[in-house]
């Protein structure tokens, strides 16, 4: 740019007011140092009603900024689970007795452990030393031995690749008594239009080792036979394509399409289905059995709007998989600034899904057992609502503390009418739970 103007002596612009400044040897306020480390921590308490699952989960995440847009993050999560989890069987007016998953083997009258060969030629041992638990009449059968500890570690490295591109690579590990997982992920983001548009691509790969307590049951078999095998595994791979667009000074939107495929053992080894006869009596139980592959696609749209000093966050997601499940999610948060150091953030989330094609609340005794089946409420048709409130405060030392309370309610849909001996029982009570979380974030 060229601007040729006749020269002139620079005037002593506001020299008087600034003589002090120019003459003084006052140094710049160097008490402001850039913080290289950022710590984000939270403690979660999760509790479901009806003596179901309870979890306590502390999480700590550390991020180190190396300058020039390079940063390293590590996160450690510890999860302690207790309580009971529904085992998939229906409630009954009579007490029901089940074996805990740790059931090791059933001894034949001859005293010798028996073996059984599956149709695919796999030899599994029949079990002995079964420990039993009884569900009271009218109660939803819960496996009371659902306690576990999980430790998870994840790390990620982010850096720039040229002026307009960023790279992120990471890994994660997770370990609990009956499940171990290791994963890798990588993502690239490229800016366009003066960084108003960003295209991103991400991929992840995960390998899981499933070691059910007492061995993985042979899927779909008669539960009372306790036919169990060994360990299982599965692998998951996924890709994500995203567009982030600045729509105005106040509005940022992101649209993502993701696809993932999971191959291997997808069944929940501890879950059953009740076999019900024409009179509504439970005449038996079967282990569930899910397909060994699952592919999912989802489209996700998020909007962030700066309204005054507040921020509105609205996201929508649509998911479809090859198990016949379709879901819709709508999530709304409004961060309301109160004064200079405090905010309150109400939250509402609506979720809806339909049932998997192989989902059955129970099996009919008259029908032959299907190949694949599950009564896991996670795969059933339901609506869910979450209402929550978060309060955050910035303290004098610039750290931020927060407290969050959310209530989650899941309501089953399309529940078949209770007939015969099932009358008067709530066949699918849904789920009620709350999340209570405290958080602390600071830099140094």
């Amino acid at each position: 740019m060229q601007l040729k103007k006749p020269g002139s002596v620079p005037t002593a612009l506001m020299a008087a007011s600034c003589a002090l400044l120019g003459a003084s040897t006052a140094k710049a306020d160097d008490s402001y140092e850039s913080d290289d480390w950022q710590v984000d921590s939270a403690l979660l308490y999760y509790k479901e009603d009806q003596q179901r699952v309870q979890a306590i989960e502390p999480v700590v995440s550390l991020k180190r900024d190396f300058g020039d847009d390079r940063s390293l993050g590590v996160k450690l999560t510890y999860d302690s689970l207790s309580g009971g989890s529904p085992n998939g069987a229906l409630p009954s007016h009579s007490p029901q007795t089940f074996a805990t998953p740790s059931g090791a083997s059933l001894q034949a009258p001859s005293g010798e452990p028996q073996t059984y060969t599956t149709s695919s030629g796999r030899v599994v041992a029949l079990l002995e030393k079964v420990t039993l638990y009884t569900t009271e009449p009218g109660q939803l059968p819960l496996d009371p031995n659902f306690h576990d500890q999980r430790v998870a570690f994840s790390t990620s490295w982010q850096q720039r690749l040229g002026e307009q591109m960023r790279l992120s690579v990471g890994g994660d590990l997770s370990h609990e008594q009956d499940f171990m997982s290791a994963g890798l992920n990588a993502a690239l983001a490229r800016d366009f239009n003066n960084k108003n548009t960003t295209l991103s691509f991400g991929t992840n790969l995960e390998a899981d080792a499933i070691r059910p307590i007492g061995g993985a049951p042979v899927g779909g078999t008669d539960y009372t036979q306790l036919q169990k095998g060994g360990n299982e595994s599965k692998t998951v791979g996924g890709v994500l394509f995203g567009v982030t667009q600045v729509l105005s000074r106040r509005w940022l939107a992101q649209l993502n399409y993701s696809y993932d495929a999971s191959h291997g053992y997808q069944t929940d080894p501890y879950k059953l289905l009740s076999v019900i006869d024409a009179g509504g009596n439970a005449v038996g139980y079967r282990f569930e059995n899910r397909p060994d592959n699952r592919t999912r696609q989802s489209v996700f749209l998020e909007n962030k709007l700066a309204l005054g000093r507040d921020v509105l966050d609205l996201s929508l997601r649509h998911m479809k998989d090859n198990w016949g499940i379709k879901s819709q999610t709508a999530d709304l948060r409004y961060r309301l600034e109160l004064g200079n150091a405090m905010y309150i953030e109400p939250h509402a989330r609506y979720y809806k899904q339909n049932a998997a094609s192989f989902y059955n609340l129970y099996l009919n005794a008259a029908d032959p057992a299907p190949d694949v089946m599950s009564a896991d409420p996670r795969l059933g048709a339901f609506d869910a609502m979450t209402y929550g409130l978060k309060l955050g405060m910035t303290l004098a030392d610039k750290s931020e503390v927060s407290i969050r309370l959310e209530q989650y309610r899941q309501n089953a849909r399309d529940v078949p009418a209770a007939f015969g001996q099932l009358q008067g029982l709530d066949l699918n009570p849904g789920l009620k739970s709350f999340i209570f979380q405290v958080g602390w974030r600071f830099s140094f």
Binding site: L3, K4, P10, L13, M14
Partner: protein
């Protein structure tokens, strides 16, 4: 050069960052001077690294005729004032909240800096501020300052 003279020269060239700060930038009034024109904002993290460097460069090359001008593009003046209070720069600050000056110079990234020679021509143009860019910026300043 005695300290008093030095201070007087600085005083003649520096505008302090205050609410009465300048909102205009008249290139013509700088003829004969080399200008380091920097566009910054309180919300721009790399700008925090650039301020101490711009301070030191202003001090070092003032006698050779360098004027550092920091153009602020914050839409909320209060945020800029807080930033200036923390950084206490000793170079000229111009406020451009509507972005008219940024538009004129076709700023395409933040921060953006322009090295303008004694005849008012933009000689070097940089986007962003990184530590490893400092030697190059120094070299460019020396080149332009050496010219008549």
């Amino acid at each position: 050069m005695t300290f008093a003279k030095f201070a007087a020269v600085c005083a003649a060239l520096i505008v302090c960052a205050s609410a009465r700060g300048d909102t205009t930038f008249d290139l013509a009034s700088y003829a004969g001077k080399v200008i380091y024109l920097d566009f910054w904002a309180s919300w721009c993290a790399p700008c925090r690294q650039s301020f101490p460097w711009m301070d030191s460069v202003q001090r070092e090359y003032m006698s050779k005729g360098l004027v550092v001008v920091g153009v602020n593009v914050d839409q909320e003046r209060a945020l800029a004032e807080t930033f200036l209070k923390q950084m206490s720069p000793h170079f000229r600050i111009v406020f451009d909240p509507k972005g008219a000056l940024a538009e004129t110079y076709k700023v395409s990234g933040m921060p953006a800096s322009f090295i303008i020679d004694r005849h008012g021509t933009v000689r070097f143009h940089h986007l962003g501020f990184r530590d490893d860019a400092k030697p190059r910026l120094d070299a460019e300043l020396n080149t332009v300052l050496a010219e008549k």
